[in-house]
């Protein structure tokens, strides 16, 4: 187990190193670093001074080590637009993004699992067929268009929910989040649902497949024979067994949610890191782009690492497979 974790950690470190080289080469070889790192409004003398100050006149490998050294000390440059530390800008926006990703994950659990269970228990009913047909749509509809349509229906036509922005936040148990205020919940409902649509479809399919498989297993038959009520069989015996794959997939998909929040945040003007990235690409605010890329790569590597380790604890076959490979 320890050996597996150490090997997995080393792999992650290699990925981060590879990504840092790609980002560095992308910015310094494909693009022009002077244009990337210096404010375009600077004059010639200013540019020369900055080149020397940033060490851009030095060989490429020394520049790379400087870049890594700066990154490790949290110095990822200063935003041209905001004039503050790029890293701090991202970290300030992170809670909003995590909030919407967590809300979407909760939605996919609390909407996807009951619907999937129903479709699995009564596979031939009209409602089940409608659920499955809708879940196919959930896979093929472009997220951003669904978001626009949601705004059109719920904000413009019906006027039920606010169309943009994040609601007021409140602090509860040391966590500041808009999930703890009524207006905050009204604001997060649409963006979170929009982000969750794909995952809800996924959870419905997983739960349905799991239910269909488990319903014929001996332990369910035995529980029935003992005279246990149907609600207890479904709620305890069945649910416990189909939750393992669902939870694993949702864990892996969390990083996906964070990445896709770029789209949702742009539609609903949600002040998260994704919106910041798009704004920065538009305004050519390169230090913020670099900081975002580095943070998101780290986030992904950490999520993949945690899920892999958890999975190897849950399922010993993964570790055995590693050894023989």
């Amino acid at each position: 187990m320890t050996a597996y974790i150490i090997r997995r950690l080393m792999q992650s470190a290699a990925v981060v190193l590879a990504m840092s080289i790609i980002v560095f080469l992308g910015l310094h070889v494909v693009g022009d670093p002077i244009y990337l790192l210096i404010d375009p409004q600077a004059d010639q003398a200013e540019i020369e001074r900055t080149i020397r100050r940033l060490g851009l006149d030095q060989p490429i490998y020394i520049q790379y080590f400087n870049f890594i050294g700066n990154a490790l000390t949290g110095n990822l440059g200063t935003s041209f637009v905001h004039g503050t530390s790029a890293l701090k800008l991202i970290v300030d926006r992170m809670p909003a993004t995590l909030e919407i990703a967590i809300a979407a994950t909760l939605m996919s659990i609390f909407i996807g699992i009951p619907l999937g269970l129903y479709a699995g228990l009564k596979p031939d009913g009209f409602i089940s067929k409608s659920i499955m047909a809708t879940s196919i749509l959930g896979f093929s509809l472009p997220t951003f268009w669904v978001g626009i349509m949601m705004i059109m229906v719920f904000a413009v036509m019906l006027g039920w929910l606010p169309s943009t922005g994040r609601g007021p936040t409140a602090t509860f148990l040391g966590i500041t989040s808009s999930l703890f205020t009524i207006d905050g919940l009204r604001h997060i409902a649409m963006p979170a649902l929009n982000l969750a649509l794909l995952k809800i479809s996924l959870v419905i399919r997983l739960t349905r497949a799991g239910t269909r498989e488990a319903i014929h297993q001996d332990y369910i038959k035995f529980a029935r024979a003992k005279g246990i009520s149907t609600s207890r069989i479904v709620g305890v015996h069945l649910l416990k067994n189909i939750m393992i794959p669902v939870v694993t997939v949702l864990g892996l998909e969390f990083g996906n949610l964070v990445a896709f929040s770029v789209v949702t945040e742009t539609i609903f003007a949600w002040p998260g890191m994704g919106k910041l990235l798009i704004d920065s690409i538009q305004s050519l605010d390169r230090p913020v782009i670099v900081a975002y890329l580095i943070i998101i790569v780290l986030l992904f590597v950490i999520i993949n690492l945690v899920v892999d380790i958890l999975y190897s604890i849950l399922d010993p076959r993964v570790r055995i497979g590693e050894k023989s490979a």
Partner: protein, 308 residues
């Protein structure tokens, strides 16, 4: 009656008319009515996109034909020139939406199909080489594939665009980079199976060159799964391009795809002018669903395990 005769009788019973493989494929495919309709719609969409300049009432990007006074007209309003009716309304710049949508469809399809084909050529070649060479090269290539597939497509595309900048060529580079790994994985999988078969051994005994065995013998036998991946990935590419364009980091305003039309209409959405975003979105949705339906049916037809 001899054994061969019995075999011949059996064969005629099983297959009353002699069918070429293509006829058999067509017969299998048209078994599903939904898939047949989807295929006809797909062809219709492609033809519409191809002949768009000759059938639309106005060239939406010729400023002489567009009147800014006509902007944001409701669907069904006649044009100020009186020559035609804006059946689906006009957008913020006064362009006829039907015309703009067909032009947009052209660009969306062109970008999607082109990136799909380049990614396929690149991915298939890499996958074939990986399967054929084996050893360290193979595991290095497959590690890169795994690594890339562990990041979501939109993130990889955004990263590339952030580094490369905007433009049609950059979008195609980004889409190809996102997609090649799927093709490489698929082709490597089937090439591994194929390369152990006897006909490959026979070709090797004949002293054929590696390249000829790879591309002349193994590749044609890897085509069925590859065709399925092409359809599904092209739909993905169109959707991804639309998303990037919607975010404003995709195609430039001079080459507006469906995603950009939706994005342009978004600002008028809050004042209730729904049609500018709604109709292009519907066309985009239909295109993606139709391609997916065709892909699904192709997967069923081309899968030897499901064939009767």
């Amino acid at each position: 009656m001899s054994v061969t005769d019995a075999g011949a009788v059996n064969a005629t019973v099983r297959r009353p008319a002699a069918q070429t493989p293509f006829q058999r494929f067509v017969a299998d495919y048209t078994e599903s009515r939904l898939a047949t309709i989807a295929f006809i719609l797909l062809i219709a969409t492609m033809v519409l996109a191809l002949i768009a300049p000759w059938i639309v009432p106005q060239n939406p990007y010729d400023l002489a034909q567009v009147d800014i006074m006509d902007s944001r007209l409701k669907p069904g309003t006649p044009a100020s020139s009186g020559k035609y009716t804006h059946w689906l309304g006009t957008d913020g710049a006064g362009r006829d939406l039907v015309s703009a949508m067909l032009y947009g469809l052209r660009i969306s399809l062109a970008v999607g199909v082109m990136s799909g084909l380049i990614a396929m050529a690149l991915g298939a070649a890499i996958g074939l080489v990986a399967a054929y060479v084996g050893g360290r090269t193979e595991s290095l290539i497959m590690r890169i594939v795994d690594l890339q597939l562990s990041f979501p497509a939109i993130l990889v595309a955004l990263m590339l665009i952030a580094i490369l900048g905007k433009g049609v060529d950059k979008i195609i580079i980004a889409l190809v980079t996102v997609q090649w790994a799927y093709y490489a994985r698929t082709v490597r999988g089937s090439a591994l199976v194929e390369s152990r078969k006897e006909y490959v051994e026979a070709a090797r005994c004949l002293g054929l060159s590696n390249a000829r065995i790879l591309f002349g013998h193994i590749l044609p036998n890897c085509l069925p799964p590859l065709i399925v991946v092409v359809t599904v990935q092209t739909a993905h590419a169109i959707s991804l391009e639309a998303t990037l364009s919607f975010l404003g980091v995709g195609l430039p305003q001079t080459e507006p795809s469906l995603g950009l039309l939706i994005s342009n209409g978004f600002q008028y959405m809050l004042s209730g002018e729904y049609w500018i975003s709604f109709f292009p979105g519907l066309v985009l949705l239909m295109t993606i669903v139709v391609i997916n339906l065709v892909g699904d049916q192709l997967r069923d037809v081309l899968n030897p395990r499901l064939s009767k």
